[in-house]
Symmetry: C3
Subunit: 337 residues, 3 copies
């Protein structure tokens, strides 16, 4: 079960280049994307209505795509404009088109009612396209349900355990109190870990041996977008470090997910080595998540009767799962809403 009337991150801007067809499946619907001559990105269902061949194996012709099985041609709005060997084009010969908005290096796609696709609903990720920030965009494919990744991102008490040598550090981090606020479309989490050791990746970056005040402030909003301000300040004074993270979990199917992520810094802007090191450390930590969440998914799949045991640390993810289920039950938002 997936949310439909919502903006999903479909791709990084650079993934959909001029002159090529790009295939990606979102909420079990295969899509073909391309960039028109005007620079705008189109998205059609990746299935020819004739015999079901994927259009992404087809040929881009101007701003249209031709199925390379029997040659049917589809315009960017999904209308069929040519059926070789047939003078008449059947009215049913069209494919579904999806609204796409490109903003701050992310391509957002609306999988629901096109009339309800309001770009004002897209979360603000300005630092992904700002000269004041640097980051390396990246992507990981997961073979798990998207909610298990959301669970992970909604409870940072796992940092000192799963990420002991990367994002974690002292076990005391898990004892620090996270303030959780309920948002209309998600959860706001604010955690201060005061007078504790710096995270391992921060120590590698700064060389700090003294304790810091560390913060992780983030919103995690439907359908799976994390927007985070984090950083650390050395107790002895001197400048701290600050990061902006944008992460998006987009369901590919019930058992697989796309994970787009970035960790931006607003210092050492002219030092690509800093960007590269931060990226490498994040990737190392996310590999730890990947391994654990896949092991968790295998464990859950083995026994469908197992019920997770809620703990107080699960209040953020409990609320997020409740919101998700409420919106799922409510069904598509009317276009007029």
């Amino acid at each position: 079960m997936f949310l439909t009337n919502t903006w999903y991150v479909a791709a990084w801007s650079h993934e959909v280049a001029q002159g090529a067809l790009f295939a990606r499946t979102i909420t079990d619907i295969p899509l073909v994307l391309w960039r028109g001559a005007d620079g705008a990105v189109r998205a059609l269902q990746d299935r020819c209505p004739h015999r079901g061949a994927p259009l992404s194996r087809g040929r881009l012709e101007g701003d249209a795509v031709r199925c390379m099985y029997h040659g049917l041609k589809f315009e960017r709005d999904g209308a069929c404009s040519q059926v070789p060997g047939n003078a008449r084009i059947p009215p049913a010969a069209c494919v579904r088109a999806f609204p796409v908005v490109e903003r701050n290096k992310w391509l957002w796609i609306w999988m629901g009612e096109p009339a309800a696709a309001d770009p004002a609903l897209i979360p603000d990720t300005f630092w992904l396209d700002s000269p004041a920030w640097r980051y390396r965009p990246d992507y990981i494919h997961y073979g798990v349900n998207h909610l298990l990744i959301a669970d992970n991102l909604l409870d940072f008490s796992h940092l000192p355990f799963l990420h002991e040598t990367t994002l974690g550090g002292s076990a005391g981090y898990a004892d620090s109190r996270a303030e959780v606020k309920r948002l209309a479309d998600g959860v706001r989490v604010e955690r201060w870990f005061r007078d504790g050791p710096p995270a391992p990746f921060v120590r590698k970056l700064t060389g700090w041996n003294e304790n810091v005040d560390r913060w992780n402030f983030y919103d995690f909003v439907l359908p799976g977008v994390l927007l985070m301000d984090s950083g650390s300040t050395p107790l002895g004074g001197g400048p701290g470090v600050q990061f902006r993270s944008a992460q998006a979990v987009t369901p590919e199917s019930e058992t697989s997910s796309h994970y787009f992520f970035s960790q931006a810094h607003d210092f050492a802007l002219d030092d690509p080595a800093v960007t590269a090191r931060l990226h490498a450390d994040i990737v190392a930590a996310f590999k730890e998540d990947w391994d654990m969440i896949h092991a968790q998914q295998a464990s859950l799949a083995r026994d469908p009767h197992f019920k997770m045991m809620p703990l107080p640390v699960d209040n953020a993810l409990g609320h997020y799962r409740w919101l998700f289920n409420q919106k799922l039950k409510a069904g598509p938002t009317p276009a007029a809403a």
Copy 2:
């Protein structure tokens, strides 16, 4: 669902050599085949009735096969002739035997009622065993339902798209009119493409730069056999080229198929390079089919609710699928019929 009372191509003659057991599954029934001392080919169900071990892992002993798990021995008619450690042979200890006819380098097997197995029903493929023709026999395994391959072979309008640089050529080929005649057991397709560029594989072979009249005349008959006469004649006069093709699609299971094929020529009989080049070009084109049909199968498997959209170019395959379903519903032909 498979047709039973029908002749399937089980193998090329050379695949079943003297002195060895050959395993192949047809219509979900695993078979073991071997060639007796008299040169005739036997076919038994590839499963020992005792504990289910495959006989094809057994040992050929004269014109019998011994299961190499517990040693039961079966004669060529499927009767058990020895049970080690048991003086008495239980009457149920036999395996099913299937009629096999070897004709023109193909081994045809009858998967239905043996009494109904009339060799006169086998289509004529004389050129596969004629000194007037040359070809290289070949085989491809498909992980798709046999009807998707039949669809492909019943509508050549895909040639200029899927096979643009191999069998295809001008997009005008798809606009040429194919005459479709309904046969009792299949479809006859006759297509003339006049005054068009030669197919790429023909141009490579002949060096022609001028337009040609091109024809594809074929019968496609149950349970999946294509018999084709094709060729091209240069408009400026001079000798043309002609080919005879025999292709057979045999279901291995509901989701996999055997594909036997050949493309014979009646010119340059003493030039093996011509035979090799024609074979290589056909294989390249059939790889294009393989890729597309597997992508199509994946697309169809993802959404069982998807209905294909019939187009006028689908008249041949529509009739073939109708024939297939009629014969399936009718059930096995009475042996007396």
Copy 3:
């Protein structure tokens, strides 16, 4: 369906070393095992009750294991002793613990009611830990149901066919009469093969060219343990050879099994080459079993309607399957029994 109130072989002693967590699934229940400072082995269900993460990906801390997802800590009896960030430990935060007994280099685990776990029920395998015997312990993983391996071990008439060049030899072995006695918890099989050629592995070991009297005496008891005395005596006189074999089939799931085995000898105790050769010959033969039983499982899986055909040679396995089904129907033995 699995037996619960029974001792299964879980591992060779050396597989569970000090200081490490060891994961193994038995009867579809994933387990984590470790060896405490006192040398005793603990076994807990390998699933954190919080979010289902495997504890075997956790950290051993003294005689407790910490889940390395969110840091919950579990004592050797399965009780939770710490929940990071939570002062109170929920009563439900515990995992199931299983009785383990280490005896003669095998770790036996009781998958049923702990109160019913009587170590006196464990079969005697004294030669696995005796200075009078030598062997090399080994393990093979099977992708088949455990009963197919039991079938194999309960009918040695397959030796001259499947193991023609390893354990087998003359086809006459299959005609020799095996005495089968019904035990309360299994089957006793006694077979003399008199005046026949030695088994190939015995000939390699001894160089004998003359005939021998050969015996295989074994018990095969629930839930899948074979205890065998076997050997051969040359007809011309002189010393014979004798072996003791302990083999255990432990279900991992309905479609996979653990197979622990050994072939001990009481001669040439100071010649490791003899131990190595015997081991290598056994492994070669068990590879023949592995190939055949996997092929058999594939054959059975293809057609769920297929019924095996009982033969007189199947009397031992018939009785064993009957016992297994009786015990399965009877359900767990009351702890008081």
